[in-house]
């Protein structure tokens, strides 16, 4: 084994691609703004500078480790260097920290504190730029941008969209859509991955917390919450619970304290989706039309397909997403009671996703003129609401959701992770319903973090070819292959965010490697511990089908095209 020396610690060199990874392996939290392990190396922020034993300084993110190297990460020179960079960044930065949405979570703020910048000597003579509020999903405030370029690289490298990029030069440089357009006029799909990597509030989630408080305050409104599969394993993050722990019970309790009238589980909606999507898949297999069937749960993907590959929109399942199937069912369920009590049911969906904020406004997700989901708030926003109330979340007792929408299958619970939708559909379609069948599907190749996964599953005399992709760049590569006739599939699952909703744009940040693994394990744990693993074993489904849906599947559960 070969070694290098970091701050006097001997660190073995394994397959690390840069010195920065080794520094972190040595247990030193070297600061960075522009480094993300799954993006290309940019080397712009100069925070990760180190000094070698000859006094030369270089950025550790873009330097290969060499055996015998001796480096220091925290010399006097480096301290002064970092401090000056932060001071210069702050000098051209909106410093209204107390009223900023990122207050307390901002990496610039915390680094300024850490390196000890107590005053800024330079005046800010940057022209104030307008805030872009045009998107329903995210807000862009160029006055808070530090030009690290993380959003630009995420949007183009991971998502293959490139809605924003650097423009102009020198002190006039900014990150913007072409010609300074508003985000709503670009190809932006609202996935929010740019907000995930943004160290400041230059790109942040568009918040709808006020609307929710207003609804709770309104006695005429029956405020119903539904909680998405991926929220429960991330919400505890900010309250000191171990990463990836299922905090559903505590979240339900917290929502009741906050004043929600009913609390339901979106997993039930996912079971509805499994039923409908499987049916649709079986029909398409029979007719041979519009194959492969693309999943439709991810609104960012649906929008991406519409923007980039309109010729493939007919392949997208007509099913609404679990949230958008569940909301009309809730409204139908309370329709009579609402009339009797003179109330109005108000659906609040708690989602890991920013794109859902736009999905609910789509006319194809409405039943007639009725908007079925009234508002979407992200995991980050519900965390903020819990804090506003002052609930000690970590100490809450767990409670179960309200009937009749509290029971769901394990298959539904894994909708929040890449491969989950496929797995649930396959379980439903499998003629065998025993433990071996579940294990066979599990190990068919649809699980795991690879950006592109393939599997072949045989049911009876039919072999199904399946592809699972996450990250829209991977989706677009796959479609190009399908277009070129190089790939043939029956079923394709796409999720816009890498690893699926567990790392969605609305989830608590940061989402480093440990968090990613913990969330993956956490969501599979929910499935493992479910007594019902197959959607068709959910005893509530029959009741809903007979008493609420009553043959109106196409009106309530599908997108009206």
């Amino acid at each position: 084994m070969e070694y290098m020396t970091i701050d006097g610690i001997k660190v073995p060199i394994e397959d690390e691609k840069n010195i920065l990874s080794l520094i972190r392996k040595a247990g030193i939290d070297i600061p960075t703004f522009c480094y993300h392990s799954d993006l290309s190396i940019y080397g712009a922020c100069r925070m990760c500078m180190v000094e070698d034993d000859r006094g030369r300084m270089f950025a550790s993110c873009s330097e290969q480790p060499r055996p015998g190297m001796v480096i220091h990460t925290n010399t006097k020179k480096l301290q002064q260097y970092r401090k000056l960079i932060i001071e210069l960044l702050l000098s051209a930065h909106c410093r209204d920290c107390t009223t900023c949405t990122k207050n307390g979570m901002c990496e610039l703020q915390s680094l300024a504190y850490r390196v000890g910048v107590h005053a800024v000597r330079f005046t800010n003579n940057k022209e104030e730029l307008p805030i872009d509020m045009s998107s329903n999903c995210i807000v862009r405030d160029p006055n808070k941008c530090i030009l690290c370029g993380d959003c630009v690289r995420t949007c183009s490298e991971n998502q293959g969209i490139g809605a924003i990029d650097f423009a102009h030069r020198g002190s006039k440089m900014q990150i913007t859509p072409a010609f300074g357009a508003n985000l709503c006029d670009t190809d932006c799909v609202g996935c929010g991955q740019c907000a995930v990597v943004c160290p400041t509030a230059a790109i942040s989630i568009r918040t709808n917390v006020t609307e929710v408080w207003d609804a709770i305050e309104d006695p005429k409104k029956r405020v119903v919450a539904q909680i998405a599969p991926a929220v429960r394993i991330a919400v505890g993050d900010k309250f000191g619970l171990p990463k990836g722990v299922n905090a559903m019970g505590k979240l339900v309790k917290a929502l009741r304290i906050m004043g929600f009238d009913e609390v339901y589980d979106t997993n039930f909606g996912a079971d509805l989706t499994v039923m409908e999507e499987s049916k649709e898949f079986a029909e398409r297999l029979k007719s041979g039309e519009n194959l492969p069937l693309f999943t439709s749960c991810c609104p960012a993907w649906v929008k991406f397909c519409e923007n980039r590959y309109p010729e493939f929109t007919k392949n997208i399942s007509t099913c609404r997403s679990p949230m958008s199937m569940f909301s009309p069912v809730i409204k139908e369920y309370f329709a009579e009671k609402d009339k009797e009590e003179g109330k109005e049911t108000y659906n609040v969906a708690i989602m890991p996703c920013t794109a859902k904020k736009a999905e609910i406004l789509r006319t194809d997700n409405c039943t007639g003129d009725r908007q079925d989901t009234d508002i979407v708030i992200t995991t980050q926003e519900i965390i903020r609401m819990i804090r506003q109330v002052g609930i000690k979340f970590e100490n809450l007792e767990s409670e179960a959701c309200d009937m009749p929408f509290s029971m769901a299958s394990g298959g539904a619970s894994i909708f929040g992770i890449t491969g989950g939708v496929t797995e649930a559909v396959l379980r439903y379609m499998s003629p065998e319903k025993d433990h071996t069948a579940i294990e066979n599907i599990k190990y068919s190749g649809i699980r795991g973090k690879a950006g592109f996964k393939e599997a072949s599953v045989t049911f009876g005399d039919r072999t199904l070819n399946i592809a699972v992709v996450h990250g829209l760049k991977n989706a677009s590569d796959l479609i190009e292959d399908i277009k070129a006739g190089k790939a043939h599939y029956d079923f394709v699952e796409v999720m816009a965010c890498r690893r699926g909703c567990i790392l969605g744009g609305g989830q608590p940040v940061p989402m480093g490697p440990a968090t990613r693994t913990a969330r993956m394990d956490g969501i599979y744990q929910v499935d493992q511990l479910s007594s019902i693993r197959y959607t068709d074993e959910n005893p509530l489904i029959d009741h809903i089908w007979n008493d609420i849906i009553k043959g109106r599947e196409h009106e309530l559960l599908h997108r009206n095209m």
């Binding site: 183009s156 969209i161 490139g162 809605a163 924003i164 990029d165 650097f166 423009a167 102009h168 030069r169 913007t176 859509p177 072409a178 010609f179 670009t186 190809d187």
Partner: protein, 159 residues
């Protein structure tokens, strides 16, 4: 909406330089040589055709001071404000030009689309400072009065 001839011209340039992303700058140069500016719709069109995003094309175009999205006057006057010209009082040249033509830092093209006044960082003719160019014809050792004369002459020729 841009006339169809613009897009046909762009097609020609794209064909001449190839459809790779490396063709972006030569294509933009050709467009600017043809129209004295880059019509924004045309940049979008080119980006789409050579397989890069509109935002990336905009990024490249705005990096270079030379590319412009605003249509320019018939006479493009560039005042050098490089070090040599600056110390030899190029500011006075610029001020006189703007005064004569009723222009400012924000507004650099006259309403009749006759004149555009720009500053450039160095024209590489430091020995002739202060320098300005009118449609790439070099006018050396300028003084404010020579500016007025030049403008007067152009206006007379045009009348």
């Amino acid at each position: 909406m841009l006339d169809r001839s613009f897009f046909e011209k762009a097609d020609e340039f794209i064909a001449a330089h190839g459809k790779g992303k490396e063709s972006l700058i030569p294509i933009m140069q050709d467009i600017q040589a043809e129209y004295r500016y880059i019509p924004p719709e045309l940049l979008t069109y080119v980006a789409k055709n050579i397989g890069i995003t509109e935002a990336k094309a905009y990024s490249v175009a705005t990096f270079y001071e030379n590319f412009s999205f605003d249509s320019k006057g018939k006479y493009v006057i560039k005042v050098c404000d490089g070090t040599a010209c600056h110390v030899r009082k190029s500011t006075l040249i610029l001020e006189r030009l703007r005064k004569e033509l009723g222009l400012s830092e924000k507004k650099n093209t006259t309403d009749d689309m006759m004149f555009t006044v720009e500053t450039v960082s160095c024209l590489g003719a430091c020995g002739l400072a202060p320098v300005m160019t009118v449609n790439d014809v070099v006018h050396p050792a300028m003084t404010p009065d020579k500016v007025s004369e030049t403008i007067k002459k152009i206006k007379e020729d045009e009348a």
